[in-house]
């Protein structure tokens, strides 16, 4: 962790870490602490009266059907997004790994959605699935299905899932491909000589060997679905129709900024914090075991 060869103590290192520590304290740690504190208060909308209520806000949340529903919905949403995105990209990566010529060209063509903001991805898909004008809506209606995500909650959920998953395919593809390409060719050749066909080789050799990457991507995708999809929800469905697409992070924003329930929103923030911390810790524990420094 510390270089074997290093400089002794002086004032210099403090100066060097100062910018980052300062910003971290002011904009990260202090607000996080404040959120923790605020989650233990009930404040009326005008800030005139505050009452210290210990964990009452949390109790209220856990008994609130709406909150629990949102929680479940978020889990459902993230499983779908992670699953679809990872599945699709795994398949594409497997294909790209197999071919000799053009793998890099395919990679170029497949990775740029990473650069697209979630809200932009949402805009693209909501355009294609606009109930009146969307090109895909047109196609579906030609097949007899009338699409209107503004009325149908399930369709709304489908829309945001597709938009979210679409964007992540690029990222997952990149990592899957890199992982597959780092498997020594000799292992695959040995399996081929043993008589395993491509499908079998994939499931019995390639897939197990990329499991660290798979695990890593799973955590990343879940964090993505929990947090970074705010833009998509906010821009397209605003959590609707009738809360069908309200996920936890959106609810924090909605309750806090729009509804001005500071205590409740803070409590929700704290819960989200706990989830992130949990996921990050899991990831570090698992991944750090596999990392070496040269």
């Amino acid at each position: 962790m510390l270089k074997k060869v290093h400089f002794g103590p002086s004032y210099l290192p403090y100066l060097l870490v100062l910018p980052q520590i300062l910003i971290t304290l002011v904009f990260f740690i202090w607000p996080a602490g404040h959120a923790l504190y605020q989650s233990l208060l009930i404040q009326d909308a005008f800030g005139l009266r505050t009452e210290f209520v210990w964990f009452e806000n949390f109790e209220v949340l856990f008994e609130d059907e709406h909150y629990l529903g949102t929680f479940k919905r978020t889990v459902f949403f993230s499983v779908l997004v992670a699953g679809i995105s990872m599945g699709f990209s795994l398949m594409l990566a497997a294909m790209a790994d197999r071919i000799v010529k053009g793998a890099m060209a395919y990679r170029t063509l497949l990775i740029w959605p990473y650069a697209v903001a979630p809200v932009v991805a949402g805009a693209l898909w909501v355009f294609m699935l606009d109930p009146t004008l969307g090109i895909l809506t047109y196609g579906l209606s030609a097949m007899g299905y009338e699409w209107n995500h503004k009325l149908n909650g399930n369709e709304a959920m489908t829309l945001v899932v597709i938009a979210s998953a679409w964007k992540q395919v690029a990222y997952n593809f990149l990592f899957f491909l890199a992982a597959m390409q780092s498997i020594p060719k000799s292992l695959i050749e040995a399996a081929a000589i043993d008589g395993a066909g491509p499908v079998r080789r994939f499931w019995s050799i390639i897939f197990p060997l990329i499991s660290p990457t798979t695990f890593f991507l799973l955590v990343v995708n879940i964090v993505y679905a929990f947090f970074e999809t705010f833009g998509i929800i906010h821009a397209i469905t605003q959590g609707g129709p009738a809360k069908a697409t309200e996920i936890l992070v959106y609810k924090v924003y909605n309750d806090g900024f729009v509804g001005l329930d500071l205590g409740g929103s803070a409590a929700q923030s704290v819960i989200l914090m706990a989830i992130v911390i949990g996921l990050t810790v899991i990831q570090f524990r698992y991944v750090e075991k596999k990392v070496e420094y040269s």
Partner: protein, 282 residues
């Protein structure tokens, strides 16, 4: 090449091409939409091939916006996005380099304490601390400013960790040789460490630029003045307005403008970008 089964290769290529089509479809549709006039964009079915209104739409989007041109165009917003993305990318890289240098190369009290403090920021994305951070920024009178847009997002840990990793792989002997040559810590940092980290810095720049450009929630919260909006925010507003009278051609042109800079950066610096992604996530 394992087996030379043409059937499998054919299937692989086909599926990849199909994948590309699915991935690229939305972009294509968007591009097409941005090249037609408003009227055409209300007739079903919407076009699948481009029209000729690209520059007309571009002009309108940049300067006049929607509502028949009653609004301010998004040109200013493009600039805001650029400022924000650059400030975040450059800022993050600069302070992370300094912090990583201090943590890896100096032994000083509280070294590990600082390290863990920085580590914690990994677990605190802006979405979990929106209200309190907003309050802090408001109290510091940083709302509606470029500083307010960028500084709260600068201190997260990924860049620091990546540079730390890079520094750890630099041979000890280089530092020893530099010491014998007479270089003090800052000289060593500037003359030797920085040049050797050039590729990592470039790779990280790509990632951070995209990260900064695509920020949505944070700019949404702290800008109320339209002239400080970022282009990514503009889209949401246009979509809202679209409820009443959709001007999809302008909306999609704006979307195109919002997408293009990061995509161009990714494609032009693809190698660096991939390196940056794979190195930061370890």
């Amino acid at each position: 090449m394992i087996e030379n089964r043409p059937a499998v290769t054919f299937v692989s290529h086909s599926m990849l091409i199909a994948g590309i089509v699915i991935i690229a479809l939305p972009i294509w549709i968007t591009f097409v939409a941005a090249t037609h006039d408003a009227v055409r964009m209300t007739q079903i079915p919407l076009p699948l091939l481009p029209g000729d209104q690209f520059f007309a739409n571009l002009n309108q989007a940049l300067n006049h916006g929607i509502d028949g041109g009653a609004n301010q165009g998004v040109g200013m917003m493009l600039f805001n996005s650029l400022m924000m993305a650059m400030m975040i990318a450059v800022g993050k890289i600069a302070i992370s380099l300094l912090s990583a240098f201090a943590i890896v190369y100096f032994r000083f009290p509280f070294r590990m304490g600082f390290f863990w403090m920085i580590f914690i920021t990994l677990m605190l994305p802006v979405e979990v601390r929106i209200i309190p951070t907003f309050e802090v920024v408001a109290n510091l009178n940083m709302l509606n400013t470029y500083w307010g847009l960028s500084i709260p997002l600068i201190a997260s840990a990924t860049a620091t960790f990546m540079f730390r990793q890079t520094f750890l792989t630099i041979p000890d002997e280089l530092l020893e040789a530099a010491r014998i040559d007479g270089a003090g810590p800052m000289r060593f940092f500037i003359d030797i460490l920085l040049p050797m980290s050039r590729t990592n810095i470039a790779a990280l720049f790509v990632i951070l630029f995209i990260y900064g450009w695509n920020q949505y929630l944070w700019p949404l919260l702290i800008t109320t003045d339209q002239s400080m909006f970022t282009i990514v925010m503009a889209i949401k507003q246009m979509l809202e307005a679209a409820e009443q009278s959709p001007e999809w051609n302008i909306i999609m042109m704006t979307t195109l403008l919002a997408m293009l800079p990061p995509i161009v950066v990714v494609i032009m610096m693809q190698k660096l970008f991939v390196k940056g992604l794979t190195e930061t996530e370890k």
